[in-house]
């Protein structure tokens, strides 16, 4: 350990707010040359925000970032790159129709006279880099981008970061698409980087990898630093405790409701993303779905809703087998879906509030295909009122409403449709605290009235306080349901990380 050296990266007191959310507050940490610092935390703990601030994609509100003597507080992403800071992204942008060598040098092609690209020089440099970092023979430098495997794309992304003037490399979830052999190779690379005296930041969910490769671990929770420990002084359970140990101060207290009427029954569902999924949701019950991003929760919602195809398995609504091939079938089967990406998948931003809110029930509001305007107003208005959607009029273009109000418009649409099963995918994402509380109250109300609710959420307090039972997904499989009394953050995180078994 070379802790007596001056840090290559020094971050002090960094804070960042988004409307209604404090994403990071007062984060200070440093990275020394030849040191690997792991960053861990739950979804939404602020890891991505921190990385984006580091490489200047977001500007910081307060604090200091110092890379080897260069202040990077308010610079452009290009400045940060020039200063020697590189990010290896989880899902690199690879251009499909150009070669590996060109992909590595994209935007910075070496030149000859008259602006000609120095292709031989480029290929030679890439070959040299491959050799130096232990990737020799793993990738054909003349292959086209679109022929690459995810692991090969990752190598291209790594070479982009390392090709010149690098001082600090940040890896964002580098192993999510790698096999264990590829992970070993990546660790080999990180050891080379260490020996070359670079600083390394390693962001990962996988604690055993962190224990293996990192020298130090920094823990974030809700945007606040909760731990900065040398690896040899800590253990996985301690890190988990630091990640989750939270008071449920802002939770919502639901009365428990239990009925025996099964609304949704899923048996042995298989799909491109899912492996043998079976569960039930009763009337009046809220079943929370926890798990990491990418565990297959959103895809499960879309399979149930007929947007994505299932390979096999049976979906029953109120005991009846339903063959759901598209969203209209799902609506006919009394299922509603509030998608995660409300702008991309929920709303028609250029159209009015009333149109957006009544879309799913157009056919109920019409006679011989002719819409009855008055019925539209009388159907939708009560929900606009109940949800306290702030709007100058029903004809307001939805794109002009605030985020919270937009989310409520999607909610209003499905309330008007009166489904038996409502699937909510991250219903409070990018919604401010006040609107959040209202949405919780409303979901609770709906359950009380007998609706079955499938609540997908990455926010622990939301999951723990709203759900009657929690099902955790990991790699397309589900855990057994955790009853409310047994539900703890540790239990959920353990299932989500795959460190606990059923």
């Amino acid at each position: 350990m070379t802790l007596k050296t001056t840090p290559i990266l020094a971050v002090s007191g960094v804070g960042k707010s988004f409307p209604g959310v404090k994403a990071l507050s007062n984060v200070s940490m440093d990275v020394h040359p030849g040191e690997v610092v792991a960053f861990v935390g739950e979804n939404g703990a602020g890891k991505s925000t921190f990385l984006k601030i580091l490489c200047a994609e977001y500007s910081l509100d307060e604090g200091n970032i110092d890379l080897d003597g260069v202040k990077l507080n308010h610079c452009t992403p290009l400045d940060a790159r020039d200063a020697g800071l590189r990010l290896v992204r989880q899902e690199p942008e690879i251009i499909g129709d150009i070669s590996v060598a060109e992909n590595v040098f994209i935007g910075e092609y070496p030149r000859l006279s008259f602006g000609r690209v120095d292709f031989p020089g480029m290929r030679a440099t890439v070959l040299e880099l491959l050799e130096r970092y232990g990737f020799a023979g793993m990738i054909d430098i003349n292959a086209l981008g679109r022929t690459l495997s995810p692991a090969q794309m990752h190598i291209v992304e790594i070479l982009r970061a390392l090709k010149d003037g690098v001082k600090l490399v940040a890896f964002d979830e580098p192993t999510s698409s790698l096999t264990s052999r590829e992970v070993d190779r990546l660790f080999g690379l990180i050891r080379i980087l260490k020996s070359e005296g670079l600083g390394v930041i390693y962001v990962s969910h996988r604690l055993h990898e962190v224990m293996e490769i990192a020298d130090r671990v920094v823990v974030l929770k809700d945007g606040v630093l909760t731990g900065d420990l040398m690896i040899e002084d800590t253990s996985e359970p301690e890190i988990i405790k630091l990640m989750v140990g939270r008071e449920l101060a802002h939770g919502f207290n639901r009365e428990e409701t239990t009925t025996t009427e099964v609304v949704l029954e899923v048996n042995n569902l298989h799909s491109q993303w899912h492996n043998d999924i079976s569960f039930k949701i009763h009337a009046g019950e809220i079943v929370g779905f926890g798990g990491l991003v990418g565990a297959g929760r959103t895809e499960l919602a879309k399979v149930l809703f007929g947007e994505y195809a299932k390979e096999s398995g049976v979906i029953k609504i109120s005991g009846e087998v339903k063959n759901i091939r598209n969203p209209s079938d799902a609506i006919a089967a009394n299922i509603g879906l509030i998608p995660e990406d409300r702008k991309g998948e929920g709303l028609i931003l250029v159209r009015s509030l009333i149109e957006n809110a009544s879309m799913a029930v157009f056919s109920k509001l019409s006679r011989f295909g002719i819409l009855r305007n008055r019925d539209m107003v009388t159907t939708v208005s009560p929900y606009i009122k109940q949800l306290e959607i702030k709007t100058p009029s029903l004809d307001q273009v939805v794109g002009k409403l605030s985020g919270g109000n937009q989310q409520k418009v999607v909610l209003a649409r499905w309330l008007a449709a009166k489904p038996k099963l409502l699937i909510l995918d991250e219903p409070t994402r990018a919604v401010d605290v006040g609107a959040k509380a209202e949405i919780y109250r409303l979901i609770d109300d709906l359950a009380k009235k007998g609706m079955a609710i499938m609540l997908i959420s990455s926010e622990m307090p939301e999951l723990l306080s709203m759900s009657d039972r929690i099902i955790v997904m990991c790699d397309g499989k589900i855990s057994k349901p955790i009853e409310k009394i047994d539900a703890t953050e540790e239990a959920i995180v353990n299932y989500a990380l795959g460190t606990a078994t059923n």
Binding site: F305, E307, N326, P327, S328, A330, I331, A332, L337, P339, G344, E345, G346, L347, I348, L349, V350, R351, E355, M359, A360, F362, S363, L365, S366, G369, I370, L371, N373, K390, P392, K400, S402, N405, R413
Partner: protein
């Protein structure tokens, strides 16, 4: 809410603007600017020539609007759904030939009209199939059928030449007039067909589940599908409507020219119709646009070329003027949208209504 407080300063002015605002809301800001442009143009033309307001001339404008107007109505459906149909002019050519063939060979005018429209529907379905089932982008798909359907029109016309049709009852559709008395030249039958089509289309677009769903799918196809709208069915209906109206336009061309024309009279109609739809306030991205706007734009374009003809301005200048008009109109629309977004951002930053 802070915005309305300012209007207390001058009550009468505030009231005036409020009323203007109400009128604007009812007509729609885009349509209002079209109306203003139309009025300005009419005043300008009228100041230069005494013939503009003559019955004969107004009759001509109505007559000339009909063919492109009918096609523009169909194009509005397509563009609002975020599609495009470049093949409508070629479809009209096919319909013109079919209609003439049926009338001359079978002697049935109603049969000719119905079959002309039917071939339009069929070719529209071909477009929908290429777009929905073969998943070809609408611009590419209809660019292909633009060429193919024109070829078909020449192939079905014997010898690839036009077919003379001397049937007075068919001619009535093209150049007949209603309510003619004294100096009043009457209303062109073709124009009345356009009015009926436009009123019907306006009703469909504004008041039916189908029409509202077109706006939804144009605004955001994914959200529309997740709200239960079947996009494939919608596309079939939309391109069939565009095709049927192109077919109707082809029939009117046959009636007016007393001949089934594989090309002449229907070439370039698609671009004129697309111009009118965008001028009428539709977005290429879909989700926006109205029949009223399109009709105003068709009227504006017809008035422009009529006025320039009266003033003896050569066609070449007219083409340039039409192009300029479209650019100016769309640029104004963009500017207005950007401005309203800026105002909204300011309100949000000031912690206003939110």
């Amino acid at each position: 809410m802070s915005l309305t407080k300012n209007s207390n300063n001058s009550l009468s002015a505030g009231k005036f603007f409020k009323n203007v605002g109400r009128v604007t809301n009812y007509i729609g800001a885009e349509n209002l600017s079209l109306i203003i442009a139309l009025i300005v143009m009419v005043v300008l033309i009228n100041s230069q020539t005494e013939y503009f307001f003559s019955g004969r001339n107004i009759f001509n404008i109505g007559q000339n609007m009909a063919v492109v107007g009918v096609i523009a109505v169909g194009m509005t459906f397509v563009i609002v759904s975020a599609g495009l149909d470049i093949s409508v002019g070629s479809i009209a050519g096919c319909a013109s030939v079919i209609c003439a063939l049926v009338v001359t060979q079978l002697g049935s005018v109603p049969g000719g009209v119905v079959l002309g429209i039917t071939i339009g529907v069929a070719l529209g379905m071909v477009n929908a199939t290429i777009i929905s089932i073969l998943r070809v982008n609408p611009v590419v798909a209809t660019l292909a059928t633009f060429s193919a359907f024109r070829g078909v029109a020449f192939l079905i016309a014997p010898g690839g030449r036009s077919i003379g049709v001397l049937d007075p009852s068919l001619g009535y559709l093209g150049s007949g007039r209603l309510l003619q008395f004294g100096d009043f030249p009457g209303i062109p039958v073709a124009f009345m067909i356009l009015v009926i089509v436009a009123v019907g289309a306006h009703f469909v677009m504004t008041s039916t589940v189908f029409g509202r769903s077109i706006y939804s799918m144009g605004g955001n196809p994914v959200a529309a599908r997740l709200a239960g709208i079947n996009l494939t069915k919608m596309r079939y209906a939309i391109y069939a409507i565009a095709g049927s109206l192109a077919g109707l336009a082809g029939v009117i061309v046959t009636a007016r020219t007393s001949s089934g024309q594989p090309a002449s009279g229907t070439q370039g109609l698609e671009l004129e119709a697309i111009t009118a739809v965008f001028l009428g306030g539709a977005l290429l991205a879909g989700g926006k646009g109205t029949i009223v706007g399109t009709m105003l734009a068709v009227l504006l374009l017809a008035t422009l070329s009529n006025g320039m003809n009266l003033l003896g301005i050569p066609t070449f200048y007219q083409l340039v003027a039409k192009g300029l008009l479209l650019v100016v109109a769309v640029a104004i629309g963009q500017w207005r949208m950007a401005r309203s977004e800026r105002i909204q951002a300011k309100v949000a930053a000031a912690g206003g209504d939110d």
